[in-house]
Amino acid sequence: MAKAKKGDWVQVQNVVLKAGHRAPQVPEDTQKCDLKLWVKGIAQHDGEIGEEMEIVTVTGRKAKGILTEINPRYIHDYGDFQPELLKVELQLKDIMFGGDK
């Protein structure tokens, strides 16, 4: 199991509201889920993923929760190539400039 050292940049997870104790207006499928919270900060002690961890965030706020990630990576990207977009591009060029071929 990955281990965080004191001073590492980490993410922790908390449960704010338990499933079944959500706000009354929440639909049924969401009622079955905990309201979870994630926040990043500097680890205040050594610890393993899945263990309780105390952190200090960049605003200087103390928080604690279950350690979920160490040096968390941004996972979003430009996705897979989408042929539909190419088709649109070629169609637009054809409509606008097709006569100049």
Partner: protein, 471 residues
């Protein structure tokens, strides 16, 4: 601290928390009965146009270019009747610090927080407003916390929101991320209480007033270049701030006849608080899930009174489909050379259809663009949609079922702006007044307030109140 941090206890302290986090006395504007003095609130707590322009100029905001989309205009004319096909322009709001028009709102809110002596600011937003607040807070040396509704129960997040997390962190903010649900507001309150920071809500008078400069610039730029004000300005509508602020600015510049048109993406059938539906949307804002509830009941925000009140300003509203917006986003890139969006491309899509109803010499302005990046580009959006079982194909956008499929129009002739029933919206607003205030009778002041809110005659309001059992 020792405060009870249960959901109920925090909500019970809501008024006190908000008061401390804004130091604004909303009470002073309340009338007897249901109404309040909107203009007094905007005037007394806001800033003048000159002050706002100066604040914004000093903080990398405003004076954005107004760009003519000549090829998109030409494309629209191919499908328009003879003599029709208005010139389409777009205000390149991506040029603002933090890359969107939201910087206009944040610049005033954060300036105000600094002036009042707050050490930090907090905003609850999954949108560009987070980046805008974070960026402005960095300029002022204030601490910043952004609270986001980001993930479903499996910690899978919309790529667009993940990008918004990244950029907030890039500007030095702390980002608190939550799973789907309206209780985000309670976490927001709890953080305000713990930190003593300023509530940089999207819906304060200065947050809305900050957008007035956008409308003002549009009117001014058109007058300068073409000797006339624009015939119509199109604003993507969600919480109402974009449209309200822009419309107020347009009017302040003297463009009394300019039509204000709202546009949003049709997401009917998807529940905004549903864990299942959350990641089956292919857009995160500017859709009917926000716009319809806010149009017919603005006072559902994190301020006692919402300064964004679209029925006071909106002449028309239209809806477009997700597939149509992706099509036009691609057109903007390959025909115009601007990779922008997704924000702004909703109203641009509507503009493409509406220009075909307007005369050739008329001017139609789309009031915003935003920066594009990983997560926000149509490719990651479509990749994400397909991963969640949303079918993507070419066909008739009319057949689009949000969350099930995303239909690219077979050709541009199929891109439509569908009229939203404004009369129905106004009736719903009256109904909501009766319901939410438990109205049994209406005073003359109540009637006048509703008339101002929905821009309808006394007869209309009295008749609608009677329909809802109010004498």
């Amino acid at each position: 601290m020792g405060l009870d941090k249960s959901y109920e206890a925090i909500n019970a302290r809501k008024n006190e928390i908000i008061k401390n986090a804004m130091r604004m006395d909303y009470e002073q504007f309340e009338n007897e009965g249901i109404g309040f003095d909107y203009e007094a609130m905007m005037k007394k707590t806001g800033y003048s146009m000159e002050e706002m322009r100066a604040i914004q100029l000093e903080h990398g905001v405003g004076n954005t270019p107004l760009i003519e989309l000549k090829n998109i205009t030409e494309l629209a004319r191919k499908y328009a009747p003879a003599g029709k096909g208005a010139r389409i322009f777009v205000k390149d709001e991506a040029a603002n610090a933090s890359g969107s028009f939201k910087a206009r709102r944040a610049s005033i809110a954060v300036y105000h927080a600094k002036k009042l002596g707050y050490k930090g600011v907090i905003a609850a937003t999954s949108g560009n407003y987070g980046a805008a607040v974070a960026s402005q807070a960095a300029m002022h040396g204030l601490k910043c916390i952004i609270v986001q509704e980001c993930y479903d129960n499996d910690k899978v997040g919309q790529p667009e929101i993940l990008e918004k997390q990244r950029i907030c962190e890039a500007y030095g903010a702390e980002v608190v991320q939550l799973t789907v649900g309206p209780e985000l507001f309670t976490t927001h309150l709890s953080l305000l209480e713990d930190t003593g920071y300023f509530n940089a809500s999207l819906y304060t008078p200065f947050g809305i007033a900050g957008v007035e400069t956008l409308g003002y610039e549009i009117a001014e730029q058109c007058k300068e270049r073409f000797g006339k004000y624009p015939d119509a300005v199109l604003c993507t509508d969600a919480g109402g701030g974009n449209l309200t602020g822009t419309a107020r600015g347009v009017k302040m510049a003297g463009a009394a006849d300019t039509k204000i048109i709202g546009a949003c993406i049709d997401l009917h059938g998807l529940h905004m608080a549903s864990n299942h539906d959350f990641n089956r949307k292919s857009c995160t804002t500017g859709h009917t899930g926000f716009s319809f509830p806010f149009v017919t009941w603005p006072d559902r925000s994190d301020t006692p009174r919402n300064a964004a009140r679209v029925l006071r300003y909106m002449d028309r509203m239209v809806t477009v489909k997700q597939g149509e917006v992706f099509y036009i986003t691609q057109a903007l890139a390959v025909l115009e050379g601007y990779e922008r969006g997704p924000a702004g491309n909703t109203s641009l899509t509507a503009a493409f259809a509406l220009a075909q109803q307007m005369d050739k010499d008329q001017i139609l302005v789309v009031n915003e663009t935003e920066y594009t990046s990983a997560g926000k580009h149509p490719m990651p959006q479509l990749t994400f949609a397909k991963q969640h079982g949303v079918e993507v194909f070419f066909g008739n956008p009319e057949d689009e079922v949000p969350g099930k499929n995303l239909i690219f129009p077979k050709d541009p002739s199929m891109i439509k702006a569908r009229e939203y029933d404004m009369l129905h919206a106004k009736k719903s607003y009256v109904k909501n007044c009766v319901k939410n205030y438990g109205m049994k009778s209406a005073s003359e002041a109540d009637i006048q307030f509703i008339m101002d809110e929905i821009r309808e005659s006394r007869d209309f309001v009295v008749k609608e109140l009677a329909e809802n059992g109010v004498k």
